[in-house]
Subunit: 139 residues, 4 copies
């Protein structure tokens, strides 16, 4: 059921789906999504624009915080770019709820790439969420 | 001349240009860029994905910090989503250097929309930059 | 009048005053405060603990966001430590409102030291404020 | 041995010890410290100044990132104030390394209070560390 709230939100998020982002899992404050780095996401040196790495993390964060049911939006986020992602990298973002209080929540998202020698961290993201009113206001 | 370093970098940033981002100005730690919210950037409710707002801010930040000459990368950033952007909004991002120290720098970027009644702030972004070595390492 | 709201709040902030922080100015979303680095704030190498630099910035931020009248609290903050402060440094923090929206606000605080050759930036701080309800809840 | 590097650093941190902060554990990128909220840390309403909560988190972060051996400093940090701490609260901060890359590291610190009904989160902190050169420069 909470799984459905996040998946329903993801279905409506045409921007994320148009980028090929797939939502692999979302329930109880947790979500996992994946995205392949396409030619449209890189610069002339085949390095992914950091904005697309953020976008994957932000989508995964949105799925995690909406997995509880009430409509929740991103109030803000902080990202550290740990390593560059390259063309054709299959990135995986894992969002986990850190804490919730009142209408607010904090979620940590790690974006990594699976390499033969193990996971390579690409970025660390922390998102701040707010449950919004029925009238759509983040008061 | 510093103007050229930022514009040359922007020329190589095919990902930003593919989104229709235009660099209007870049010199001495300052840059202005604009982007129109297209159907590919919105969800089913015609609201722009926050990731694209971040992407515009991040590109503008990159142009500002590279306007000095040495190759500089984004080490991280913080964004607060102030208001939602909508389909067809013409967003404008203005990046200004706040301080530089050693190889590091801090840049503030405001993303706004021009409305009949004046500027409407969409997001406030603060980026952290690092000058990289000739071998491309952010040591 | 708005000046009084911030000064009244500062009067009640015994923790800040016990550290010798002085509020020099506070009105219309702006505040300036100063603090001298005392022996109690440094480690064995006469370098100030970053927490005290944060504390000065946080106090100045609180005065700026309460200068408008409604009771406002710090929801969070981000700080970059630019240079170390030393024993006996007279630090000055200047807080400026960047934007306000709904019950939220964003304030930038620069902590600097006056040196013979000019201002030396010690830290850059960005605070997020929330106006609270009459019952003291940050809903 | 790594335990000693963090404890040695804490021994030199007279500012933290003067506040009654105790380092309970520090090894392999992890640290736990505790601090009691004293009358000097509160305002007229017996609510702890957020700066002292930050200070406890920052000290614990410093112990965690120095537990590996090389001298490491705080480059910056982000804090969300979740709930207010009160006079006489015994706060506990737990720092955990999230990732390390090059000379940089990211550490998450949760500050909580033990209540009869369980742990109450007071603040969530994320610190960014940098290993410094032998000449003390954070290049």
């Amino acid at each position: 059921m909470t799984r459905n709230a996040a998946f329903a939100m993801f279905e409506a998020d045409e921007a994320s789906r148009a980028l090929g982002i797939e939502l692999l899992d979302a329930e109880r404050g947790r979500a996992v999504a994946t995205m392949r780095v396409t030619p449209a996401m890189v610069n002339g040196h085949d390095i992914a624009h950091g904005g697309y790495v953020f976008l994957l993390a932000d989508t995964t964060f949105a799925c995690a915080c909406n997995s509880h049911g009430p409509v929740t939006v991103a109030a803000g986020a902080e990202i550290s770019f740990v390593r560059t992602a390259k063309l054709d990298d299959q990135l995986v973002a894992t969002a986990e709820e850190r804490t919730r209080y009142g209408r607010s929540g904090i979620y940590d998202v790690t974006v990594h790439r699976e390499d033969p020698e193990g996971r390579t961290v690409i970025a660390e993201f922390r998102g701040r969420s707010r449950i919004i009113d029925r009238d759509g206001m983040n008061t």
